[in-house]
Symmetry: C2
Subunit: 211 residues, 2 copies
Amino acid sequence: MAASARASGGDKRQMILDAAVVVFAQRGFHACRVSDIADEANVAYGLVYHYFRSKDEVLDTLFLDRWNILLDAISQIDEKQIPVREKLHAIASFIVDSYRHDPDLMKVIIVEVTRAANSFARTHLGKIREFHRLIAEIVSQAQAEGVFKREVTPDFAALAFVGAIEQVLTGWIFGWLPRGDAEYEQAKALIVETICGGLEAAAAPASARAV
Amino acid sequence: MAASARASGGDKRQMILDAAVVVFAQRGFHACRVSDIADEANVAYGLVYHYFRSKDEVLDTLFLDRWNILLDAISQIDEKQIPVREKLHAIASFIVDSYRHDPDLMKVIIVEVTRAANSFARTHLGKIREFHRLIAEIVSQAQAEGVFKREVTPDFAALAFVGAIEQVLTGWIFGWLPRGDAEYEQAKALIVETICGGLEAAAAPASARAV
DNA sequence: CAGCGGGTTGACTGACCAGTCAATCCGCAC
DNA sequence: GTGCGGATTGACTGGTCAGTCAACCCGCTG
């Protein structure tokens, strides 16, 4: 271990980030000390401050790197010419798969940033709201096309969608809900179904009659 | 002020609790010091420790007093012989009205406890899960009656419901959504509509085609 | 092989704040 | 008016870490 670390050369920065994910996920950002990160990374305490200005900046980096990927992915999904339902499914899919691919990182992002309304969610408010805005935009467009009814404001629908996803992820993170590939696939469909079901224009009758 | 405080006699404990709500809501639990609570309450530092064992216990008290009222209210709603939709509306109503009645207290409960997955939500996990369980129970019963379809597990539906409410409250708390009596009434209806719409038996598309 | 400079080390410091405690106050009972 | 006891006061202590810094290591260049 120590040998391979030494052999790997200048990638200590990445080792620190990886270690931070582990200890933040395990004990939480506030409960763990900078020395815990350094120990986990097999690196001296001071090196953390060589690569990062502060403990906060370590978490900021983890969050921003991942969140920007998320925003890009949603933007790309948004540009496609596919039905709303598929767009929302693709978004839910991306997020759920992110969790499947790296549960610890997603746990840290959700628990320590997204849900930490009084600390990191404040400093990254713009990024988080951007996420909400993109979803609201999709809902808004669906309303313009007559696919979604207009009684629900896009902002509101976006928050309900985000709230449902976040809570379900929290359920997996803390073991309140059963995990597994089948559950993940089901969840994607169900979140979309739950939200779209309440938003799609006037159930069947009206549109059926119109056609 | 100081005079009235002195005149009021032995209700210093309540003054401390009230002050705690104000400063916790303003600066957040971790960012404020015990001396801030004492100052806000016009009371000496040490008195906080006469009535409470620790800073944590102050927040615990605020949370538990209110949460137990919430659980009682839901239990009573649950016992009524009314349709699911009305039950869920009554629950959403109670929570939204709690926020309308005392926004600061609800802010503290949601931001510092409910959403604080790594600190207070851990110590009060039982109480929080009890809330989820009561809602899952209502969903489960609706499924048994055939009002809700069975594809969605009760636990999952409960989390989606709770997630939507929590996120909307967060939206109000941080000013992302417009506040006001009209908005509150609309929100109650819309949260229920959004969730029930996705859960009520026989969604439009499939059945429409079948017919 | 001298010595430059970025990478790396870990002991130390300074600030912060929850919680303690000895002293004081004051209403009331006798 | 004496003294008991709970309420109230606020200066002080102890422990905890984030962040600093002076020194060391080592590959590379000229």
